[in-house]
C-alpha cells in the first residue's frame, strides 16, 4: 500500500486540488499511519506559524533616511574610497609643488597622505596632517 505522505503537507496548506484532496481524505479514513502523520505535520506547521512576528527595528527603514541607508557592510569600502580620494588629491598637490631638496618622497608617505612643511625653528622636517583630511576621516 502506498502512502501519499508528500500530499499531507500540501493538504494542510490547502494546496491540493479538489480531486487530490478527496482522494487523500478517503485514504486518511482507512490508514492510521497517514492519519497519525497528518497530526504530526499539523503540529509542526502550527509550531512554525506560532513564531512571533517580529517588529521591524526602529530606524531600519524610514522615509527620512531613504537616500542614505547606512549599509554597514559597505563602510569599509567607503573608508577605502575616501582614503583613495585624499591620496589622489595629495599626490596631485605634490606634483604642483616645486620640489624641495630637503624633503624626500618618504616624508610624503602616510596612510591618508600628508602635507610637509619645514619649520626652521625646530630643525628637521615634520609632517602635518591638514584639517580637511581629519574632517573627512571623522565623518566616517
Amino acid at each position: 500500500m502506498s502512502h501519499p505522505s508528500e500530499m499531507i503537507s500540501a493538504f494542510l496548506d490547502g494546496e491540493l486540488n479538489a480531486q487530490e484532496a478527496a482522494g487523500l481524505k478517503a485514504h486518511l479514513g482507512s490508514c492510521g499511519r497517514c492519519a497519525g502523520e497528518l497530526e504530526e505535520f499539523q503540529r509542526v506547521r502550527s509550531a512554525v506559524r506560532s513564531l512571533p512576528l517580529l517588529e521591524l527595528p526602529a530606524g531600519l527603514v524610514s522615509g527620512a533616511d531613504a537616500e542614505l541607508i547606512p549599509l554597514r557592510r559597505h563602510r569599509g569600502v567607503m573608508v577605502g574610497a575616501a582614503a583613495a580620494i585624499v591620496a589622489l588629491v595629495v599626490a596631485f598637490a605634490a606634483m604642483l609643488t616645486p620640489p624641495s631638496p630637503t624633503v624626500s618622497i618618504d616624508d610624503l608617505s602616510s596612510r591618508f597622505g600628508a602635507r610637509v612643511s619645514l619649520d626652521p625653528a625646530f630643525g628637521p622636517a615634520k609632517v602635518v596632517v591638514p584639517d580637511w583630511e581629519t574632517e573627512g576621516i571623522e565623518e566616517e
Binding site: 505522505s5 512554525v48 521591524l56
Partner: protein, 166 residues
C-alpha cells in the same frame, strides 16, 4: 488587479516587516537580518525602474531570496549544508545581556534553532510558506522552481523539523 507599489519607500512600508521576519528566520541573527533587509531594499530601489507589471510579490521575494543566497555564498557557506555555524552563533548571541529584544525572542526558541538546522532550500520554502504566508505558486516563482519542487521541499522540511522538535 494587483496594486503595485510605486516607490521603494512604499515597498519598505508595506513589505519591510515581512522581509525582516523572513530574513530573521533564515539567518537566525538580528544583525544579518538587518543587513539583508537593507540589501533587499536597495535592490528593490534599483529594480523598480525596470520592473515589468506582473506578480509583484513573486518579483519581490525573488529579489529577497537571491539577496539571501548571495550573502550565503559570500560567506562561503555550502547552500545544502545544515549550517551548524549559524546554530553556534545563535547560542553565542543569545547570551548577550545587552540585547533585550534578542533575548526575548530567543528564550526557549527551539523552533528557530530547528529551522537553522534545515538545508537552505527547505528552510526557505518552509519560512516563505509558514512565516511569510506565500502560496506554493508564489514560492515557486520566487525560487524559480516547479510547484512540485516546492511541495516536496516544504514536506521534507517539515519532516526534518518533526524529527528535530521531537
Amino acid at each position: 488587479m494587483e496594486s503595485i507599489p510605486l516607490t521603494w519607500e512604499e515597498v519598505a512600508r508595506v513589505y519591510g516587516r515581512k522581509i525582516y521576519n523572513f530574513a530573521y528566520r533564515l539567518t537566525g541573527n538580528p544583525d544579518d537580518a538587518h543587513d539583508l533587509v537593507q540589501e533587499v531594499l536597495l535592490r528593490v530601489r534599483r529594480g523598480l525602474a525596470s520592473y515589468q507589471p506582473g506578480s509583484f510579490e513573486g518579483w519581490l521575494w525573488r529579489i529577497t531570496r537571491n539577496a539571501f543566497l548571495d550573502d550565503v555564498r559570500r560567506r562561503n557557506r555550502r547552500p545544502t549544508s545544515p549550517l551548524p555555524e549559524e546554530v553556534d552563533r545563535w547560542d553565542a548571541a543569545a547570551t548577550d545581556p545587552a540585547d533585550i529584544e534578542y533575548d526575548r525572542i530567543t528564550l526557549g526558541d527551539d523552533i528557530q534553532k530547528a529551522l537553522l538546522e534545515l538545508p537552505i532550500e527547505f528552510r526557505e520554502a518552509v519560512v516563505l510558506c509558514d512565516v511569510v504566508g506565500l502560496s506554493y505558486e508564489e514560492i515557486a516563482m520566487a525560487a524559480a522552481v516547479p510547484i512540485g519542487t516546492v511541495r516536496s521541499r516544504i514536506h521534507r522540511g517539515r519532516k526534518m523539523l518533526r524529527g528535530l522538535l521531537g
